[in-house]
């Protein structure tokens, strides 16, 4: 049995091995404890550095997962999370049978699917476009400008919509009047709520979303373009045959991630855009969970709806990931 430091890909690693009769290295399981101890001795500083983060994540992300059982219990304010009577799927049934169920699912899906349909291609198109701007100064100014709205808070964003879209005093509201949309209150209308939500989201975040695609484009081998030029390819064809294929892996990963949020809409923006006039299309699962749980104190019912939401999202993530792996051999995990 040998125990020594070997160089492993540039790193000094402690390896415990034996040489058997065929001359192959075989790690020895009987010395596992010893190895773990030695490794710990070597790595204890790494443990100390990662431990605070582990503790915070454990407390604030994992302990609430334990609290999910609330959805299956009758919450008792005096007994806490685990003290209440077990009621099984009562609250899930209550939710599915409630008159709100269909509307909430429909509204949530309407917002998130339109967001994906419009919001997913937008950054890709921007990146392809910006990548064609050869003048570095223009490009810099353009990028600085389109990234900027991303830093505006949701509250200010909705505030902006309120002042700019106002039919009486807002500049965009006035412009729309020129197109014959007279006195339409875009924020207080059931048919304009989703378009306003989605388009303002694209306005705010598409530029920022293009960064990741631009980074992918900047790593394309320039020889590919040279070769295409020699073959007489036009710029359109270079985009189609070089740029877009090089973005596919990034697209797939981001698409999987967005499918993982299919039943989630940003709580803040929807909540802030809600008003009495649009509530029939703007009440989504996230806002309903908040209202039922924290405003009406029906903890168990709210936890059940929240858990239902998480499970659907998680399933979509796993399914999309599986499909992407089968078809394109690209996956998140």
């Amino acid at each position: 049995m040998f125990l020594r430091l070997i160089e492993n890909g540039g790193y000094i690693t402690l390896v415990n091995y034996d040489i058997n009769k065929t001359g192959k290295k075989v790690t020895i399981s009987t010395d596992k404890i010893k190895r773990i101890f030695l490794e710990f001795k070597r790595d204890y500083q790494l443990w100390i550095m990662v431990l605070p983060a582990i503790i915070v994540i454990f407390i604030f992300n994992y302990i609430p997962m334990y609290g999910i059982q609330l959805a299956f219990r009758e919450y008792d304010f005096t007994k806490g999370i685990v003290g209440g009577k077990w009621v099984g799927l009562k609250y899930f049934k209550q939710f599915i049978n409630s008159y709100q169920f269909e509307r909430l699912i429909r509204n949530t899906l309407a917002i998130s699917i339109s967001s994906i349909l419009v919001g997913f291609p937008a950054p890709i198109i921007l990146a392809l476009l910006f990548n064609q701007v050869k003048n570095q100064r223009y490009k810099k100014v353009l990028q600085t400008t389109v990234y900027l709205p991303h830093f505006i808070s949701t509250t200010v964003m909705v505030g902006l919509l309120v002042v700019l879209l106002s039919p009486n005093t807002g500049i965009i509201g006035k412009m729309l009047r020129l197109f014959g949309l007279d006195d339409v209150n875009l924020l207080g209308n059931t048919s304009t709520f989703v378009p306003v939500y989605v388009l303002s989201d694209v306005w705010q975040h598409a530029g920022w979303g293009s960064i990741i695609y631009l980074a992918a484009l900047s790593s394309v081998d320039p020889q590919l373009y040279d070769a295409a030029k020699v073959d007489g390819a036009s710029k359109w064809r270079m985009i189609w045959h070089i740029d877009i294929p090089s973005l596919v892996p990034t697209m797939v990963i981001l698409f999987i991630l967005s499918m993982g949020g299919i039943l989630s809409t940003g709580f803040e923006k929807v909540y802030l855009m809600q008003n009495g006039l649009n509530i029939t299309v703007s009440e989504v699962i996230a806002t309903y969970v908040y209202k039922i749980g924290l405003l009406s104190n029906q903890y168990s019912y709210s936890a059940a709806i929240g858990f239902f939401n998480t499970v659907i999202n998680f399933s979509f993530l796993v399914i999309t990931n599986w499909v992407a792996r089968k078809i394109g051999n690209i996956s998140l995990f």
């Binding site: 790193y11 790494l46 992300n61 999370i81 701007v133 992918a216 803040e268």
Partner: protein, 299 residues
Amino acid sequence: MLSLSKGKSLSDVLFDAIVYLLCALIFLVIAYPVYFVVIASISDANLVAQGHVTIFPKGVSLFGYQKVFEDERIWIGYRNTIIYTILGTTFSMILTLPAAYSLSRPEFRARRFIMFFFAFTMFFNGGLIPTYILIKNLGLDNTIWVFVIPFAVNVYNLIVTRSFFENSIPKELYESATLDGCSHFRFFTSIVLPLSNAIISVIALYYIVAKWNDFFTGLIYIRDKNLVPLQLVLRDILIANQVFKEGVGLGGEAGGYAQRYADAVKYAIIIVSTLPVIVFYPFVQKYFEKGVMIGAIKG
């Protein structure tokens, strides 16, 4: 392919023209609303409401800013948010950077498991109510600590930082440092951190923006008026239209008149509340594309 004789073909010239036209259009669509808010905030409220202010400010008036600076709600919110942002960002950085370093060390055997432990929380969580009950039980609700301690580690930022350490710190540095008897603590503080300005600025900006713009935490956990963060004050003023403490008169000619002045205050407050974040960002921008994003999404 029309001609190869003089460098550019017709279709390529057309192509460039379309590219520049579209870029100009996008620039206008993004920049104009922002520009409009700036000029509207320093123009006369009546002229803005009548639509006379389009390209240049008219009838310069600082009425909106004056009202903003007189409003103590904004001062309280501003003060609180500055405190929360500084404390929160500092705490988050102290947790994220060392953890990212540990997870970037290839010889650290537990790193795969720990990475999974972190990344899982990006896709699965306990939900609002269990989290709320936990934070209440810990006594963090309605204190400034609710802005600092829970969710101090953003897993996405952690992964981005880890990838940066993995790809940008030359392996030879660690080898030679260990030969000289350098520990991980020393190596991290005196070699890794000084080499990581790019990632430190970017991650700090992400945390600062997230904390500055956080509305949710205040909405859920804060009841004390003196602890309210800026974003909640903004909600009251910008969206709930509680611009003047007396309230805006509704309906009739007088109501419309008051609303014009209310809008002037809103334009000013949008500028005042967003400026601190916007001024930092151009300094950090140069780092955004430089390897910070690439390879980052794959956990």
